[in-house]
Each structure stands twice: as structure tokens, then as C-alpha cells.
């Protein structure tokens, strides 16, 4: 049976009695001080705004050039998807397929699913679809790795800056904004908060 009155600490599994909180208040574990739950009003609006903005950034990051480098007379530029798929031609199927999943498929699915969830929750419709989307979010958030790719771009450019001129494209900056938004959405908004939001919204309906 589901125990809504009890919450187990995510770090040390100490049971706590769940008490109602005032806005901006948070409950912490008595043993290890880990965050148990908090009350954040307007979470659905924040989520919709951030996820929609992230999707927009991701779109820009995909349609415009990521980088252009000049080696004297030689020049080359790449799009995000072009970079990922370039290894397919070289026979490195696993790296290319894995990169396609973690740098394209999962980030799109993560933000798309979060947008869908926030819209459904705001409209108080599609309870089962909203529940399914939260289950998927938990999978996608683990495998979305554009933040690592962004740092990899900087490392790669440091490796070649002595020999080449580097021009960062619009996609690079869009990717930077996406990474900041994703870090906020994934790290700051815990999955438990989204489940509580789901419960609250559909119980009230």
C-alpha cells in the first residue's frame, strides 16, 4: 500500500513523517541532511517555460553551424548532427549510434516529454499519459549528455587553437544556453517533485 504520510530519505533511507509545508519551505533528513521534499508553487509554469525554451535552443543548435575552423587556406564547418554521423562513414558504428542517442535522441525526448507533461498537468487532462511521460523522463534524463559534449567542444578547440582559427557558430551558443537550462531542469527540479505535482494536480481535478 502506498504510504503518503511517510517519506524515506533518498540517501540513507531513514523514514520521516510527511508534514505539509508552506511555500518555499523544505524538509531535510534528520540523519544526513539530504533534501526530502519542498513546496514550490508554479512548478508547472516554470517547467513549461524552461522545457519549451530548451526545445527552441536545441532546434537552433541543430539547424545552424556549430563550428568553423580555418587551417590557412583550408576551411571546414560542421553541424551537430553532421559531427555525430561522420563516424558512421568511417565504420565506427557504435560510437556514432551511441552519440546519436545521447546527443540527439534523448535530449529531444527529455525536453519534449517534459513539455508534454507540463501541458497535460496544466490542463489537468491525460492522467495516464502524464504518468507515462514521467516514467520516461527518469530514463531520458540519465542518458542526455549534451553538457558533456559542450565541454568536449571546448577541450577539442583548445587542442587545435594553436594551428587553426576557430569561429563559434550560432549553434554553439544555443547549445550553451540549452546546457544551462537542462542542468537547471534536471538537477534543480527533482523527479519526486514532478510526481508530487502530478498527484496534486490530478487529485484536485
Amino acid at each position: 500500500m502506498l504510504r503518503k504520510d511517510i517519506i524515506l530519505c533518498p540517501r540513507c533511507f531513514t523514514p520521516h513523517k510527511k508534514l505539509p509545508l508552506a511555500p518555499k519551505e523544505e524538509a531535510r533528513c534528520v540523519r544526513c541532511q539530504a533534501l526530502l521534499y519542498r513546496y514550490r508553487s508554479g512548478l508547472e509554469y516554470l517547467l513549461l517555460t524552461l522545457s519549451t525554451l530548451s526545445l527552441l535552443c536545441l532546434l537552433i543548435a541543430n539547424v545552424s553551424p556549430l563550428l568553423r575552423i580555418n587551417f590557412g587556406e583550408l576551411s571546414a564547418r560542421t553541424l551537430l548532427l553532421e559531427a555525430i554521423l561522420s563516424l558512421f562513414d568511417k565504420g565506427f558504428v557504435f560510437i556514432s549510434f551511441f552519440s546519436l542517442l545521447v546527443l540527439e535522441v534523448f535530449p529531444w525526448l527529455l525536453m519534449g516529454t517534459l513539455s508534454l507533461f507540463s501541458i497535460l498537468v496544466l490542463l489537468r487532462r491525460g492522467k495516464v499519459i502524464a504518468k507515462g511521460s514521467l516514467i520516461l523522463v527518469e530514463i531520458f534524463r540519465r542518458w542526455s549528455m549534451l553538457d558533456i559534449f559542450f565541454i568536449a567542444i571546448l577541450v577539442a578547440m583548445i587542442k587545435v587553437y594553436q594551428y587553426a582559427q576557430i569561429h563559434f557558430g550560432v549553434a554553439f551558443w544555443a547549445l550553451g544556453i540549452f546546457v544551462l537550462l537542462e542542468i537547471y531542469v534536471v538537477k534543480s527540479i527533482r523527479i519526486e517533485e514532478l510526481w508530487e505535482l502530478w498527484e496534486r494536480r490530478y487529485e484536485m481535478a
Binding site: C12, F13, F94, I148, I158, Q162
Partner: protein, 195 residues
């Protein structure tokens, strides 16, 4: 403990429950299944760790003269050129983190297998540390992806090496090993020790 935390949605359920009352997913604690799955993934990671470090991760082709560079070789080269911050980032992300991650996973699996828990806080800290830092080992793989896409001229080109695939597979299997390990088992074993 009388209750069980759902690993997917964090809801508290009665220990006897098979399915979570909130998200509907299976919540039973499968100690053996988790241990075996995690160990199998970890073993696969160890196997790929060797070619990942022995074979070149990327090759530079200059006027049909091909030169390979392993991960350690790349770090030494960067250090020699005075790019200390990048050398340190690559060393930490590509050499230190995977190695420590494999060691920590072996330690956690041993802890579960022998039911020996030193301190729950320490074990959970280690678990969350490897979960947080694990994916960052992919930096080197993504650097290769980017350089191969950008530098492919007739006179000079970057070609991925066999080490790149092995390294990506090694990181993938360590990620799978940490995800297959149910953190609640650590809580269970440490709670038994405390009681």
C-alpha cells in the same frame, strides 16, 4: 525496514508490495539479480578497459603519414605542450575516473556480496559519486567525434582509432553497471548491520 522506497518515483510503499502504488512499476528488492547484472556489466567494462588504453584513440594523418595516439599518450603530449588544464581534464575524465569507477563498483559489489557495510553514508556517497562522475569519461570520445568531423582535409585528417570504440564501450558498460546496482540494497545491508 517496514517500507520500501520506489526507485523510479520515490514513493513510500509497504515492504510486501510488488508494484509501486504511485507509478505502478516493479519495486521488489532483487539483491541477487542486481548483483549479477552489475557484475556482468562491470566485467565487460574491465575487458574493454585494456584495448581502450593500449590502442590509439585517434590517429593523425599528415600527407599519408599516419600517427596514432593513445589516451595516456595524448595527456603526455598535452602536458609537454604546456596545455596543463586540458591535460589535467583529460587525465581525470579519461584515466582516473574510469579506473576509480571500476574499483569503487567492485568494492560496492563486494560489500553487498559479503554483506559487510562499514557505513551507509560512506557507501551511498561512493555510489552517488560514481553515478555523477561516470558519464564525464565520455569527454574524450566526444572530442574524437568533433575532431574527426572537422579535420578531414586531403593533406591532414583526424581518424578515430580502435581505442575510441573500446573506450566508448568501456564507459557504456560502467554506466550500465552502476545503473543496474540498486542503491536500496546498500541501505538494506547497512540497516541489517545497524540493527
Amino acid at each position: 525496514m517496514r517500507w520500501l522506497r520506489c526507485p523510479y518515483c520515490g514513493a513510500t510503499n509497504d515492504r510486501e508490495d510488488r508494484w509501486c502504488g504511485r507509478c505502478g512499476l516493479q519495486i521488489t528488492l532483487d539483491i541477487k539479480g542486481s548483483l549479477y547484472k552489475s557484475f556482468a556489466y562491470l566485467l565487460a567494462a574491465v575487458i574493454f578497459y585494456i584495448p581502450a588504453n593500449v590502442y590509439p584513440i585517434l590517429q593523425t594523418s599528415k600527407f599519408s603519414n599516419v600517427e596514432g595516439s593513445t589516451i595516456i599518450g595524448g595527456v603526455v603530449e598535452l602536458w609537454g605542450e604546456g596545455d596543463y588544464p586540458v591535460a589535467i581534464i583529460i587525465f581525470v575524465a579519461s584515466v582516473l575516473i574510469p579506473f576509480l569507477k571500476i574499483l569503487v563498483l567492485f568494492y560496492l559489489l563486494f560489500t553487498i556480496w559479503r554483506k559487510r557495510c562499514k557505513s551507509l553514508q560512506q557507501e551511498m556517497w561512493l555510489y552517488h559519486l560514481i553515478e555523477l562522475t561516470g558519464p564525464w569519461s565520455l569527454i574524450d570520445v566526444f572530442v574524437v567525434v568533433l575532431l574527426v568531423a572537422l579535420i578531414h582535409f586531403q593533406s591532414i585528417a583526424i581518424i578515430p582509432g580502435i581505442g575510441a570504440s573500446s573506450f566508448a564501450l568501456m564507459v557504456f558498460f560502467t554506466l550500465m553497471a552502476s545503473y543496474a546496482l540498486d542503491e536500496r540494497i546498500l541501505g538494506e545491508i547497512c540497516a541489517r548491520r545497524d540493527s
